[in-house]
């Protein structure tokens, strides 16, 4: 019964397997995908045959058939540096998000596409992802509407601050993190804690600021929030830190919220001979190699980006599979206390 036909073009197709196993392609497909009502024995035999022929289902054929591409696109924030567009993958946080997403996606049989800055529907159709992981959406981020309107589900890392009811996001508990950090600094004796905060509409920024202000009010402390641009390099955080240090009553502790502020803040201290932690305790809102390796090592909040990425991919796949997702996923962060805040 088994016709021993070999595929011409080198590729082993489902037809070859069917021929070799002496069954129809339907049966092979069912056997391999656990569909239909075949005897376990038949399934096993067909799997054997497929295996021995080295059969691999064509991903493109499957994608075509299902109207899916088998890819997930990752969208990172961008910044303008002197007219040039850069994405921010250079930050340790986003790099962990990227490689974590790639790994998680691959584990589920998806490829992770890195997207350049694109904006139009046509461009998105060219990319053609089945779903999108969007990092740090702005308030009322138009990309969410555009993509969902194209039937491309979006899961964001951090929520869109202007869409309180949208459950499709993964985030850390930003308010809790800020409070925990403030408590720690307070315990260590800090009484004038300043905050370098990103001037953006990103959720973690807003939430962090809010927690900071609430906490200050509760502890009868004057809040000192200095807004710093997120889209430049370190010079802004450097200048902001200088300004703080040069006031009549400089802070005794400083929280630099964004990863990219770490360098500017440390430089300002270094130039002034401000010792860390003796003269100023320094903590960062997002952990990085720089924070770990600085001398002294800098206390930071580890947002667990790899876990966030994994959670985001999982949520996206749920949505792709038609399952309902009714609540966001929170990835617990971890405060890494280091020398920079220990007195």
């Amino acid at each position: 019964m088994a016709k021993l036909t070999k595929a011409a073009g080198g590729r082993v197709t489902i037809r070859d397997v069917a021929a070799a196993a002496g069954v129809s392609v339907t049966t092979v497909s069912d056997a391999l995908n656990n569909k239909g009502k075949l005897r376990q024995e038949t399934r096993d035999r067909i799997r054997q045959t497929a295996e021995s022929l080295g059969y691999r289902p064509s991903r493109t054929a499957q994608a075509f058939r299902h109207g899916r591409t088998g890819t997930i696109a990752l969208v990172l924030p961008h910044r303008d540096v002197s007219g040039n567009e850069h994405d921010m993958i250079g930050l340790d946080y986003y790099m962990s998000i990227a490689s974590g997403s790639a790994r998680a996606a691959f584990g589920e049989g998806y490829g992770l596409l890195l997207t350049p800055r694109i904006s139009t529907q046509n461009e998105w159709r060219l990319i053609g992802p089945d779903g999108v992981v969007l990092c740090d959406p702005a308030a009322d981020d138009p990309r969410i509407d555009m993509l969902e309107g194209m039937a491309i589900p979006v899961v964001s890392i951090e929520r869109d601050p202007a869409r309180p009811d949208r459950p499709y996001y993964v985030s850390g508990d930003n308010e809790q993190n800020m409070r925990e950090l403030l408590e720690h600094l307070h315990e260590q004796g800090a009484r004038r804690i300043a905050l370098l905060s990103a001037s953006s509409s990103w959720a973690w920024t807003l939430e962090g600021e809010h927690a900071y202000e609430t906490w200050c009010a509760e502890h009868d402390m004057r809040p000192r929030v200095v807004p710093v641009a997120v889209d430049r390099l370190e010079s802004d955080s450097y200048r902001a830190t200088c300004a703080l240090l040069d006031t009549a009553e400089p802070p005794d502790a400083l929280i630099a919220s964004a990863e990219q502020y770490t360098e500017g803040a440390t430089r300002a201290c270094w130039e002034r001979g401000v010792r860390i932690p003796q003269d100023l305790m320094l903590a960062v809102g997002i952990d990085s190699r720089f924070a770990q390796q600085y001398n002294p090592p800098i206390t930071a909040i580890d947002l667990r980006p790899v876990d966030q990425a994994e959670a985001a991919v999982q949520m996206l796949l749920k949505r792709l599979g038609g399952e309902t997702v009714d609540k966001p996923s929170t990835v617990p962060s971890q405060l890494r206390v280091r020398t920079s805040t220990r007195r």
Copy 2:
């Protein structure tokens, strides 16, 4: 003649365009792809119709038809940090390679896949890229054979040092860069120039070392090469620099070849009160934000990673298109002289 049938599933297909334009699907396909021998007028009219219907060819259908996926995979070096696999995208250099590749690929209608560490043919078949951009292959890198054996063309950024005849790579002119840097340091008065070199079989490392040794011989200078691991964080470069600085006759200039050595080298200097550039001129083999932003800013070689990525993607597409590529592509690097080496 024009049947006004609309697609059922919402998608506008080539059939709809054909119907609306009153021609066959063949004609539509030819018109849109500049094939066949249609009157320009016909072409234009069909394009109009397609446009007005909002027709977008299905990427998956095209991919399926052509046996291509429309994706290029990017493979970055990996490192082990305490048993955890990380890719090295966190380095500014690789981050620029990644975003440059994504942009270049997209510009050509391809998606860029970020690949987690994968090793088997099966895993590669799952990813299913049409081609691969491989960064910093090791000597006789087995991934090249595996992929080319699967008919997946590979273009590397930097060459495989053990395959002198393989033309499929893009690189900077590493020997030239090293010589130029040495000349510069020499001009500035350096007479004892040490080199922190990556202990790897990567081409740029070997070439840099070779140029360094040749140059030293030519200038009657004792070479001082200190091998440093590439797969750790900054501690090794820190220790290596310490050892150099603590010798009886410490160097008056130091070249830290890898991007990730910058931090360790500067820390060692800082701790010892070694002033840059007064006591030690410091230069880095690969430019980074850190080098640009350090105080003082650090002289570095800008390998132009975005251009390298673009060249690699172009070369890969040439190969995919069946064109022959008979020689490697050299992207000229740029020495960025900064305060750290100016006396």
